[in-house]
């Protein structure tokens, strides 16, 4: 029998929130060669097998961009091998890096949250747009506003900009859905933005910051170039242009910039990134 069939996943349809909920059912346990008991520490094969499952699990979970909880990993994949979690996750990290050039990063030690970050320079846009492109385009606009405003921007300022693009709070947009929910909830959950109350503000006011994922997935250099290219125009022209872009699929401009950077200036950017890492380490 083919090795693959030994895993014998006969999953009832839609069992999961979990990828591997099927492993819980007794009949499938019988098919697993190593039985129910946890592996003795030297049995590398079973740890590697769990690590491989964890790799696939993380790749799928990361599609939503919402950080992954360690408790979910333990429940859905690691299961009875929880005491070997550190080794399993290290093996998984290694595989993610080796095969996918993706870094598994723990972003919150207290709540044990993880995200996946691509470690290679993005080729996003090389084949045109995906379903995420409009939202990422909008995000790029917001990130540049925050950056140009000195790394934070009040909610009022953000909405001023968004109104110029024809976006309004409470109004459902064909590409973005309800925009306020997108920028204060979805982008925040995904760690693209931070949305914090201004201390002591009455009535409460809020401001936006770059989220952790934005720092990793883009760079201030990219965002700066994007903003400059955009601001060459008169604000009125810019607004009209971008209202159009938003209505069609906004990211064409921003992604073209990123793509051009990747292709033409790849080596230069590598050096700049290296400098930036050194600089940041120096600051921290």
């Amino acid at each position: 029998m083919d090795r693959r069939n030994d895993y014998g996943y006969r999953v009832p349809l839609f069992q999961s929130k979990h990828l591997n909920g099927d492993e819980r059912s007794g009949s499938n346990y019988r098919r697993i060669p190593w039985g129910r008991r946890p592996a003795p520490p030297r049995d590398v094969a079973i740890l590697q097998e769990r690590a491989n499952k964890l790799v696939k699990y993380l790749l799928v979970k990361d599609q939503t961009k919402i950080p992954i909880k360690r408790s979910d990993m333990l429940r859905d994949v690691i299961q009875e091998y929880d005491e070997y979690f550190p080794e399993i996750i290290e093996r998984a990290s290694y595989t993610l890096e080796k095969m996918f050039r993706v870094n598994l990063k723990e972003i919150d030690k207290q709540s044990s949250l993880y995200i996946l970050i691509s470690t290679q320079e993005s080729s996003a846009g090389i084949l045109g747009t995906t379903k995420d492109t409009p939202k990422l385009g909008l995000l790029m606009v917001i990130l540049s506003v925050i950056f140009m405003n000195g790394n934070k921007a009040s909610e009022a300022v953000i909405w001023e900009v968004l109104r110029k693009l024809g976006l309004r709070p409470g109004v459902r947009h064909s590409l973005f859905g309800e925009v306020r929910k997108l920028i204060t909830d979805e982008f925040v959950k995904q760690k693209y933005l931070e949305y914090k109350r201004v201390p002591n503000s009455r009535p409460p006011e809020y401001e936006f910051f770059w989220g952790l994922r934005s720092y990793h997935e883009t760079s201030k250099m990219k965002v700066l170039k994007f903003a400059c290219r955009v601001q060459k125009k008169d604000p009125k022209d810019w607004a009209v242009q971008y209202r159009e872009a938003v209505e069609m699929e906004v990211q064409a401009a921003a992604v073209a910039v990123a793509e051009a950077e990747a292709r033409a200036e790849w080596f230069q950017h590598q050096h700049w990134l290296y400098w930036r890492t050194q600089h940041q380490h120096g600051l921290q």
């Binding site: 590697q48 799928v60 995906t130």
Partner: protein
Amino acid sequence: MQGSTRRMGVMTDVHRRFLQLLMTHGVLEEWDVKRLQTHCYKVHDRNATVDKLEDFINNINSVLESLYIEIKRGVTEDDGRPIYALVNLATTSISKMATDFAENELDLFRKALELIIDSETGFASSTNILNLVDQLKGKKMRKKEAEQVLQKFVQNKWLIEKEGEFTLHGRAILEMEQYIRETYPDAVKICNICHSLLIQGQSCETCGIRMHLPCVAKYFQSNAEPRCPHCNDYWPHEIPIFDPEKERESGVLKSNKKSLRSRQH
């Protein structure tokens, strides 16, 4: 068997970038896949000769084998265009979708899937799907919401919509064929020529056998009097003609279909 005898290849940054981009898009047509491959070489290895696509992909697959995933090649049912997607080999359920969608959304997909498989045309009408909204597991879903969820499936390339009716996207067929054949063994339709899962196709009105449109096109090409391969009655439908891409020989297409079939269990 072929999996265990495959020699493990080596993955370079060219392959990794390719893999990551393919994953971002979910499913890609062959033309885009080739452009992608060329781009990846340009970024990482300008001077190297670009590997033949089949070898390039086999190389990646040999490395991915330990993860029970592979890049699979399929053909769209309506017009025979080759497509590629990264599919999960081990788990046969809709696990890949599972983390993106809520329980009631997945159940909606399952209802749509069952209607599609049971239908004569391979299409399920929006109305018929929405009428099942009350039977969904999980949180109660209104019809309006269900309409949006169906659109989400279309955007994520699990379903295709044509004039208010839904069928499976080629990607869904690639990913779920094994699962569908195992879960609905009585209802499922199979193509008489390539023996793969059939959702859309033509059928013989006498004996009932079915064929994919691209399979019909190839089987009956330049045949003035098409006859059913099973019962020999006249084939009652118009024979589609698909324009093969200029660079490809039909021989290449045939050999790829063979390797696709041989990968199925």
